[in-house]
Amino acid sequence: MKKQLKALIISLLISKSMFSQTHPIDTLKNTIALSEIVVISKSLAYTAKQSKVLASVDEYLSKSANVSLIKRGAYAWEPTINNMQSERLNITIDGMHIFGACTDKMDPVTSYVDISNLEEIKIYSGQTGTATGPTVGGALDLIRKKQIFCEPHWSGALDLGAESNGSQITSGAKLNYAEHRFYSGISLMYRHSENYKAGKGETVPFSQFSKYNIAANIGWKINEQNTISGSMIFDKATNVGYPALPMDVSLAQAVIGNIEHTITNPTPTIKAWSTKVYFNTIKHTMDDTKRPDVAIHMDMPGWSDTYGLHSTMLLERNKHNIQLNTNAYHNRSLAEMTMYPADKSEPSMFMYTWPDIRTSYTGVSASDKIKFSKNQWLQLNINVGLNHNHVANEFGLNSLMIFYPKMRRNKIKVPFGMQSTFSLSKGKFEISAGAGYGERAPSVSEGYGFYLFNSFDKYDYIGNPNLKTEKSLESSLNITYHIPKMKINFLVRQFRISDYIIGIHHPEYSSMTIGANGIKIYESLKYASLLNTRLTIDLYNTRSLHTKAYLNYSRGRDFKGNNLPLIKPLSYQISEFITVKQFNIELMAEGATRQTNYSKEYGEIEKPSYVIFNFNIGYNIVLNKKKINLRMGIENITDKYYSTYADWNNIPRKGRNFFISTTYTFH
């Protein structure tokens, strides 16, 4: 019945939009977008304005007010949106699903790409992010760099950067060739860092990393309407330290590939239809051999392979701008742990921490942006899918059945979601209000994890195959007030998530990990609520002076009023952008107040307030078709020793850091 209802809603939505009256499409001047875009390398002109051109993907993301990053070291930060982490987000590469292979979240998807692969990152809040599948918190879509068919020519770039703190070196090169019916390109990026120093000169041991990334792409224009393209990314990180965790990583390797077909304007209504088939395979190996005083030596390798299809059709008719998506993927997640007793004559101890979980998802989603007039529009999003989990490993199934003797090998969920946003612009005001409902299936760790040690709260986590889907009711309000030289924006997003999945302590069970506090089992709380608010002020003092400031307040509580973990305290950022001739200068202050609403139960402590100051200056030299961008800066000028709410196990962040980069581009 429920399924039939869902199908009915979809068909109504589609048919309604298909048979509407013809109207000229007008362009909206509305500045309130449903998604935020973090530009990485869209255009050469943009490079000039970037504060740190050769920053990592994580650093680019951290500039977004919508994204926070949980740090377990200097590498592979875990992005959060609306104070929700990976399992509540859709993180995709051009709509392609990819899942980390580490049970301890040491390898978020964003760690397997580099800025050389990406053009921009689209950030969606809550149910506006369902184009790639069901979500609760939102979505991050990492949009790869695309070449265009044009007059035959070569283009390329050379990057070189250095940072004082951690003796970090970043270097990259790319070479592209394009013509009317063909293009091809290759890029290379290498990053290496030693241990960084926290403020006041304290070295943070095991914070080193090395990584390289090679990417290639190719495209053919078959005819005026049809193109076929393919791309491949090989990303390999070695010797990655995680100071916040008891283990490091000796290898994190991904191969990500796809073939895509795009047809443009096949009918007057269908503007574009692109379909890609893709695969990615990840190998992740944890390593504790370099750590002193390990209680027991362990090997913890993990694998994650995903095969999928993503198809997007864009339709325009009358007032409607419709996007239809089909997503299908199959993921295999396997992780194991072998422990070696100090006494070599004793047998080793082995378990599957992810017992070869096969997740198959097939779903459809649709969105329609209906333009009622120049100043009013309505966006509707709807999605439904079938999520199937299968425990493929017999050994692993038997292990889980110790906790759940009646569990079944297969589990089916039908997550469903819908959302609408109404936007209105009137006079000096622009108002956008949204409401939505969405569900998500539990993640592999939440459903099937076996003794996953969380080094923050120091509990072993056991998955729960009987978890219900998590259900989120959300609402948002976004108000912008414009006057000359000033723009004020206020944003509030509220989530009420029922059957909220979180680990609950079970004192009757004994923890496995040496030194752990006990066992937590993923369970569904009656509900949890999350509030995110932000006030942003932009001042355009003169043409060359721009001040941007924002204040962020979030609150996350469970149904009993207890604080949820990893909720951002009151925080702020003030930036001053100065442009003088070929120079770009940025001054920034960033800080947070004392974290009073912390969760002791999840290992958090009350983090003190902090403020840090950054400065950078860039200079551009343009010679004919060649351009050189020089940029240097100082981060954490006062060498403040600090740690924020998002620093796993309270590790301190980087102290003072000088950086310099040069980028040479030709086209």
């Binding site: 007793p341 292990s399 110790i402």
Partner: protein, 274 residues
């Protein structure tokens, strides 16, 4: 000519019969044979060896002259440990015909101590068929084991007991069926089953912080075999220590202690999960 034909017919008939008889020991490995002039006793187990602790032993009796396996035999056995100064026996069952089998008999023996250079086990098997009665005897090998599968202890009541792991013989990472046999030592030769006690256990992993496992069930007595049956959860491979506590019918502790941060139970058995 006729003789030859009959001979062929007979041999083929015999072959068929033997095939059926051989299939009765399928999945078992021969430990040894013991013979007198008339008969051979064949001994089998799942491993092909005797082991310290509990042994499920299979037997059949072959007439040496005809090579025929006997279908109606009364077996009994006497295992004896020949120590330097004394001799004693061990817990054992009677020998019954395996259900559904023609020639195969089975029973169990619990060897509570291993052999050593100066001390060894002998096994005497008495048989009784319609035609004759006899007995065979041999020294057998019961080597020491890596893991503690049997424990001899003196209870608070000053009586001697033997506790043995019957099941699982091949523990896996899962919820295993647990069977424990408890015997009291009434004399050097008499080891009856103790059927009205209570056994509780706490499985621990000494090499990994001595952690336990969830959803274990303490074994309770079953009148099917007068052994104690429960459930044993093993969450990973490796050596597990089953810390035991034995209480008598009044609930008084006979042997064993609760596991604390600093101390395990003095009564325990061991398994290796695979």
């Amino acid at each position: 000519m006729a003789m030859a034909i009959i001979g062929i017919a007979m041999s083929s008939c015999k072959k068929e019969n033997n095939e059926i008889i051989n299939s009765e020991t399928e999945g078992l490995l021969k430990i040894m044979e013991m013979s007198d002039d008339e008969y051979t006793v064949e001994l089998y187990s799942s491993t092909g060896n005797f082991q310290l602790g509990y042994n499920e032993v299979y037997l059949r009796l072959k007439e040496r002259a005809s090579g025929n396996y006997q279908t109606t035999v009364n077996f009994s056995w006497v295992p004896i440990m020949n120590m330097m100064t004394t001799t004693h026996s061990c817990p054992k069952s009677s020998i019954q015909k395996e259900t559904g089998k023609e020639t195969l008999y089975s029973g169990y023996i619990v060897f509570q101590m291993p052999e050593n250079a100066d001390e060894h086990w002998t096994l005497t098997i008495n048989y009784e068929t319609a035609a004759s009665t006899g007995s065979v005897s041999n020294q057998i090998s019961v080597p020491p084991s890596i893991y503690k599968k049997v424990s001899v202890f003196t209870g608070t009541d000053s009586k001697k007991y033997i506790i043995a792991l019957v099941q699982p013989q091949k523990p896996t990472v899962a919820i295993n069926d647990l069977t424990l046999g408890l015997f009291s030592m009434e004399s050097m030769m008499l080891f009856p089953q103790v059927t009205n006690y209570q056994i509780s256990f706490d499985p621990r992993m000494p090499d990994m912080g001595n952690h336990s496992s969830p959803n274990n069930e303490n074994p309770t007595i079953s009148d099917a075999d007068w052994m104690y049956h429960g459930k044993l959860s093993l969450t990973m491979t490796g050596r597990w220590k089953l810390n035991l506590m034995v209480r008598n019918q009044d609930g008084n502790i006979v042997k064993g202690e609760n596991v604390t941060n600093t101390q395990d139970s003095s009564l325990f058995l061991e398994v290796e999960a695979n």
